[in-house]
C-alpha cells in the first residue's frame, strides 16, 4: 500500500515536471470519463423502463408502441439473426482474403489491394443502405419470388459487405506479424506453402483472427442505418425462426426510427434507452473479450521470445 502511494506520488511529480505531462494525462483519461458518463446517462434515461418493464424489456415477445407493449425479444432476435447470417458470409471471405493478401499475393499488389479494401471500409453506412435498397433488395425479391426485397437476408448481405473489411484488416495484421523465421523453417523442411499456412501461420495467428471476428461482430450488431434501410422493420420473430426471407426489426433500427417520435420522459423514450443499454453492454463484452484475447496472445509471444 505504502509502496503504491509512493509510486503514485513519483508518477504525479514526473507529470508536473513536464509541461506536456499533465494535459496529456488528462486527455488520455478522458476516454474513461466519457465511457462512464455514457453509461451513467443511458442508465439514467432508461431507468423508468427498467423499473416499469423489468425483464419484459428483454424477454417480452411483443414490441408494439401503439399498444404500449415494449417487449425487446423480437428486436434482439432480429439483431442476432441478421448478424449471424452476415458473419457466416463475412468470416470465410474475410479470413480467406486476409491470408491471400498477406501470404500469397505478389508483393507489389499487396498495398493497392489493401487500400481498396480499406476504402470499402470507409464507405458510410447510409450509402450501403442506399446500395442495398437500389441493387441488392430487388435481386433478392426476384430471386426468391418475394413481394418485397427488404428482408433479413438483404440486411445480412449488406452487413456482410460492411464487416468483411474489418475482419480483413485486423486478421491481416496478425497474419503479417507471424515471424518470418517460423515460415521459413516450415518451407525449409519441404512443406508446400499451403501446408506452411495451415500448420504455422493459422495456429500462430488464431487469436488475432478470433479478435477480428469478435470486432466484426461488434461492428455488425451496432450497425444502424444500413440495416434499417433494407431489413423491412417489422417487429416479429419470423416463423419458422430461421426464415431469413422475412422482414425483421433490429435493436438499432428501433432506436433510430422511434427516437424522433418518442416524447422525452415517456415510457417509450425510456425503453429506447433501455435498448441502447443492451447494445452498450453487448459491445462492451465483445470488445473486452477481443482485448483479452489479443493481450494474452501478446504475452505469450513475449514469453516465447
Amino acid at each position: 500500500m505504502l509502496k503504491k502511494l509512493k509510486e503514485t506520488t513519483i508518477f504525479l511529480k514526473s507529470l508536473r515536471a513536464e509541461p506536456l505531462g499533465a494535459p496529456a494525462f488528462i486527455c488520455a483519461s478522458s476516454a474513461i470519463i466519457l465511457l462512464l458518463l455514457m453509461l451513467i446517462f443511458i442508465v439514467r434515461e432508461g431507468s423508468q423502463a427498467f423499473l416499469n418493464l423489468g425483464a419484459e424489456l428483454i424477454i417480452g415477445a411483443v414490441w408494439d408502441t401503439n399498444a404500449g407493449r415494449y417487449g425487446g425479444l423480437p428486436l434482439i432476435y432480429g439483431s442476432i439473426i441478421v448478424v449471424f447470417v452476415a458473419l457466416a458470409i463475412a468470416i470465410p471471405i474475410g479470413v480467406a482474403s486476409s491470408i491471400f493478401i498477406s501470404e500469397i499475393l505478389p508483393h507489389p499488389l499487396r498495398d493497392p489491394i489493401k487500400s481498396i479494401i480499406e476504402l470499402l471500409a470507409s464507405i458510410p453506412s447510409v450509402i450501403y443502405g442506399f446500395i442495398g435498397l437500389l441493387f441488392i433488395a430487388p435481386r433478392i425479391a426476384s430471386l426468391f419470388g418475394l413481394s418485397t426485397g427488404t428482408v433479413a437476408l438483404t440486411a445480412s448481405i449488406t452487413l456482410a459487405i460492411m464487416s468483411t473489411p474489418t475482419i480483413v484488416g485486423v486478421a491481416g495484421e496478425t497474419i503479417a506479424a507471424v515471424p518470418k523465421e517460423y515460415k521459413e523453417a516450415a518451407l525449409a523442411l519441404g512443406a508446400t506453402r499451403w501446408q506452411m499456412i495451415k500448420g504455422i501461420v493459422l495456429p500462430a495467428s488464431k487469436s488475432g483472427i478470433l479478435a477480428s471476428i469478435l470486432l466484426g461482430f461488434g461492428r455488425a450488431i451496432g450497425e444502424t442505418v444500413a440495416v434499417l434501410m433494407v431489413a423491412g422493420n417489422t417487429a416479429i420473430i419470423p416463423s419458422p425462426p430461421w426464415n431469413i426471407l422475412s422482414p425483421v426489426y433490429t435493436l438499432t433500427a428501433a432506436i433510430a426510427m422511434q427516437m424522433g417520435e418518442a416524447a422525452v420522459g415517456s415510457l417509450e423514450y425510456s425503453a429506447l434507452f433501455g435498448l441502447g443499454l443492451i447494445l452498450f453492454i453487448i459491445a462492451f463484452i465483445v470488445n473486452t473479450l477481443a482485448d483479452v484475447v489479443v493481450t494474452r496472445e501478446k504475452a505469450k509471444i513475449r514469453g516465447a521470445g
Partner: protein, 278 residues
Amino acid sequence: MKAARIKEKIIFTIFGLATALCVAAFATIAAILLSGLGTIKLEHLTKSALQGGYFEMIIGTLYLLVGSAGIAGPIGLLAAIYLVEYAPRGRLTRVIDQAINNLAGVPSIVIGLFGYTFFCRQLGLGISLAAGWLTLTLMMLPIVIRGSEEAIKMVPKSFQEAALALGAPKWKAITSITLPAAAPGIITSILLGIARVAGETAAILFTSCVLVTRGLPKSPLEPIMALAFNLYVKIVALGEAPERVFGIALILFMIVVIFAAAAITFRVYYRRRQLWLR
C-alpha cells in the same frame, strides 16, 4: 507430393476469389454511384436546397467534419503522446487502453443517444452544430488516438535520445523531434477519423441535423443540414425512391472517398520516404 500441389492450387484459387469478391464489391458500389453522375449538374453544388441544390448540405457536412476534427485532433494527439511517452506500465494505463478500445466499439446509435441526452439536453446545446461536433468527437477520438500512437511509436527511440543527450527536456524532445517525424502518420490518422465520421448518420440523427434550414447556420448553436442525414431521411421517412436522391449519395461518397484515399496515399507515400521505417 503432386496431389499436395494440386490441392494447394485449388485452395489458393478459392482464397483469391474471396479477395476478388471484396475488390469487386467496391468496384460495383463505385460504378453504381458513378452511374448517377449524369443526374447532378455542377450548378446544383452551389444552389440552395430550397432551389433543389445541395449547397447547405455540403457546407453543413464540412462544418461538422472541421469542427469535430478540431476537437478530436488535439485531444487525441495529446492522449497518444501520454500513452507512448509518459504512461507508466500499470493498472491505470491498462484501464485507459481498454476504455479507448471500448469507446471505439460503442455503436454509433448509442453514441447518438448519449449525445442527445448529454450534449443537447443536459448541457443545453439543443439540436445544434456544436452538439454534432461533440458527438462526432466521441467517434473520431479512438481513431485519432490509435493512429497517432502508432505513428509516434514508429519514430526510432534514438532520435529522442539524441535530443535528451544534448540536454533537452523530454517535452522539448517530443515537440521538436518526435512529433515532426511522426507528423505524416498523425495527419493520416486525423484524415481517417474524418473519413469515418463524414458519412455518419446514426450519431447526428437526433443531435444536430434538420431536413431544411434557411441558409447556413449563423452560430454553432443552430441546427444544420448534412448530406448523410438528408439522404437517410429522404429515403426512410419521406419514402423517396432511391433514384431520386442519387445526387446526394454520390456527393457524399466522393467526399468520404477523397478523405480516405488522401489518408491512404499519404501513408503509403511517407512510408516510402521515411527511411527508418524500412
